[in-house]
């Protein structure tokens, strides 16, 4: 018998709708003040530190964390709403998003108390930026092939090696990284990796930007040369990071950011088509909206399961697989339909610019955070095939 999939029709409770209005009003003010342009997803690498602080002031960072660490003890569903609205508005979330989604929860679980007390409140205030050091040259999605070494020394570890594809490393204050503390064993090739909290902007770390085909500089190569990490910066179990890292990945799989990355082209298409679409445009838009709605229902459903303390690993992987494939195809479908838009559509230039950028962005969407192939392997395992 196959493990049955569950996608209960979770509804967002009333407090979420109230919050959604607050977030929309906040973003409208920021747009009016010129912090960012919602019609320009390809903004020039701005990481908007002031914007991060203002988001923190509103209490929208560390929303689900304990109050003692600066958190707000609100629900996953409330956090979900904030993420949705930020994504749809193309808000500059780069500086805080990784810390809020992923690094903070890891620290909450595995960091010693004094580090939690130091860093978590600063994340909640929007003051710190995190990067994730998982991939290495020739490892990528094969997490357990990582080679960068952490060698035991007095009071800590010396790190030597290279991380790569590390988003935001050039602006990050910290990185949570996995390093090799011992070789893999015959029985378990996942053994031997340990998770560390790394302070960036210290001697022994060099960050080299890597250009992307979109023209942006977002990810980096990070080279460690005899970089010292103190003992109390070890997160969790020595040699046991594989369990921690895979549960960390669950946080980054099913959120609204996994199907809304190219959403803006759909809005612009609807704008260009106008009030009275021809049959072809209407059908195309209808299908895309039906698919979007379904994705979102799946994603909200998984958020509801997380809120209920469940670990919907297969369901979350399915959401990321379908969601990223969808957001990757979206600009191409919009392009098909845009071919029939009137020449004089008022937003024609915006639509073309956005499409051009979205089409360039699309290839990465099914790679970051675990490739489609890796996700399908996880789903297959959940189905009892492996």
């Amino acid at each position: 018998m196959t493990a049955a999939l569950r996608f209960d029709p979770i509804r967002l409770p009333p407090e979420c709708e109230k919050l959604r209005k607050e977030v929309r009003a906040f973003l409208a003010d920021e747009i009016a003040a010129g912090t960012f342009d919602p019609h320009k997803p390809n903004r020039e690498d701005t990481d908007a530190p002031e914007f991060s602080r203002r988001v923190g002031e509103r209490g929208w960072l560390g929303m689900t964390w304990p109050k003692k660490y600066g958190g707000h003890e609100r629900s996953f569903l409330e956090r979900y709403v904030v993420t949705e609205e930020m994504r749809v508005a193309n808000a500059p979330t780069r500086r805080f998003f990784v810390a809020d989604r992923q690094s903070g929860p890891v620290l909450l679980k595995y960091a010693p108390e004094h580090i939690k007390m130091d860093i978590l409140p600063r994340i909640c205030r929007g003051e710190v930026c995190f990067a994730i050091g998982m991939s290495e040259p020739n490892s990528g999605s094969d997490l357990f092939a990582a080679k960068t070494k952490a060698t035991k020394t007095d009071g800590g570890y010396l790190i030597n090696g290279t991380k790569i594809w590390t988003s935001s490393a050039h602006i990050a204050d910290y990185m949570i990284a996995i390093f090799r503390t011992s070789p893999p064993t015959k029985e378990n090739r996942r053994h031997g990796l340990t998770q560390f909290l790394v302070k960036m902007k210290q001697p022994g770390i060099q960050v080299n930007p890597i250009g992307q085909i979109t023209g942006q500089y977002e990810f980096n190569e990070v080279v460690f040369t005899d970089y010292f990490v103190p003992d109390d910066h070890v997160l969790g179990e020595i040699d046991g990071a594989w369990k921690q890292a895979t549960s960390e990945l669950a946080y980054e799989r099913s959120g609204p950011e996994r199907f809304l990355e190219t959403y803006y082209v759909l809005t612009e298409l609807v704008r260009a088509v106008g009030k009275n679409p021809d049959t072809r445009s209407a059908e195309g838009i209808g299908r895309l909206v039906a698919q979007l709605h379904t994705m979102r229902r799946m994603s909200v459903s998984v958020a509801g399961m997380l809120q209920a303390g469940k670990e919907p690993v297969v369901e979350a992987s399915i959401v990321k697989d379908i969601g990223t494939v969808w957001e990757q195809q979206l600009p191409h479908r919009v392009r098909d339909l845009a071919a029939f838009v009137e020449e004089n559509a008022t937003n024609r230039e915006t639509l073309e610019n956005q499409l051009s950028f979205a089409i360039k962005t699309a290839p990465k969407l099914t790679i970051q955070g675990g490739t489609t192939e890796v996700l399908r392997g996880i789903i297959a395992r959940g189905l009892g095939l492996r």
């Binding site: 996608f7 029709p9 209407a282 059908e283 195309g284 979102r296 459903s301 399915i318 009892g384």
Partner: protein, 354 residues
């Protein structure tokens, strides 16, 4: 859904498991399974689940009835259970008591019209009406000069040309020529043909999602049994990835259909958000039927293409159900028009309204 959610659904599951086993049905060439199955369903009050007790029904909630339809989809049940439930529901909208026996609803396509004539008779043609040949009565939605009416009609009073749907079930053309209804009453305020089509579409979405759940299950099981090139085919990465995609399509159909059913069960009005839920479910489930069904057949290879194998019971019905109560193309156009009419800046608020 692994475990049944209520006693009504559990009853349905048990009856299907006992009397509608796909393998038994598939090898039974003369249809002798149909009468005992229908008898058991009727004894349990399931065909009239959505009819209030004072209208001759069993008064189950909308949610309970929807979970019966999910189960019916999982068993690819080929008796007019969904149709009779929909007919009873339609009649109950006008407080018309349901008769016993098999029923169906007309029209079953958004483009067909049945008119209420000035003399109180009904005229018109409805195509693709599921199980009309097997029905004793037809619940009809008719339009007249004073808006919509709901009528109960004897099937024998209509001309019915038998047709066969993709799944091998009847999909008939029903012609009414000045037919005198058994009962007729005005539809409630705001109830129109779109209301009926959306309800029918949600029912079909749940059935499609159920069929996909079964297709996933039997495909996974088969891949763990079938050996080729000296290993189980489930060990080939290409097969694993295909099954992962089938799981995705099944999951998408399940999420869309159960969300729409929940929306119907808890809705007081047919607003835009309700329309989005119901139309999106029919669109996405129909797409999933196509993509998911293709994968299920691919995994099974030639054996799944044979009449002896049960796969077609699910795959062809899922494909057939796409056409009833508005195809995905029809609803996509309607949904696209609604989105365009609301305007670009109202798209996200619509999607995020629930």
């Amino acid at each position: 859904m692994a475990e049944s959610e209520n006693i009504v659904a559990e009853t349905a599951e048990k009856i299907f498991a006992d009397l509608a086993d796909a393998q038994t049905i598939n090898s039974d060439k003369n249809g002798s399974w149909k009468a005992p199955l229908w008898q058991a369903l009727s004894d349990a009050g399931l065909p009239l689940a959505w009819v209030p007790e004072d209208c001759n029904g069993s008064g189950a909630s909308l949610a309970e009835g929807f979970s019966v339809l999910s189960a019916a989809g999982r068993f690819a049940v080929a008796v007019p259970l969904a149709e009779t439930m929909l007919a009873g529901w339609l009649l109950a909208q006008a407080r018309i008591a349901s008769p016993d026996g098999e029923m169906t609803v007309a029209p079953a396509s958004p483009k067909d019209r049945i008119a209420l004539n000035a003399d109180g008779t009904l005229s018109g043609r409805a195509r693709g009406v599921p199980f009309a040949k097997a029905a004793k009565h037809i619940a009809v939605l008719a339009s007249g000069s004073n808006g919509f009416s709901i009528a109960l009609v004897e099937a024998g009073a209509c001309r019915i040309e038998a047709g066969l749907g993709l799944g091998g079930d009847n999909s008939d053309t029903v012609t009414l020529a000045n037919v005198k209804p058994v009962a007729i009453k005005p539809a409630p305020k705001g109830f129109d043909q779109t209301s009926l089509m959306l309800m029918g579409g949600v029912a079909r979405s749940l059935q499609i999602a159920g069929a996909l759940e079964s297709m996933l299950e039997i495909s996974v099981r088969y891949s763990n049994e079938r050996v080729a090139f000296e290993k189980k085919i489930s060990k080939f990465q290409a097969v694993q990835h295909n099954l992962a995609k089938l799981a995705g399509e099944s999951a998408a159909a399940l999420a869309a259909a159960t969300s729409a059913a929940d929306a119907v069960a808890n809705s007081t009005s047919f607003d835009d958000a309700f329309f989005l839920e119901a139309a999106a479910a029919k669109i996405r489930c129909s797409e999933a039927a196509e993509k998911g069904g293709a994968i299920a057949h691919q995994v099974h290879g030639a054996i799944g293409f044979t009449i002896e194998h049960i796969l077609h019971r699910y795959s062809l019905r899922a494909l057939a159900w796409r056409d009833d109560f508005g195809s995905e193309s029809y609803w996509a156009v309607e949904l696209g028009k609604l989105v365009a009419d609301r305007g670009a800046d109202e798209l996200w608020p619509l999607v995020a309204s629930r």
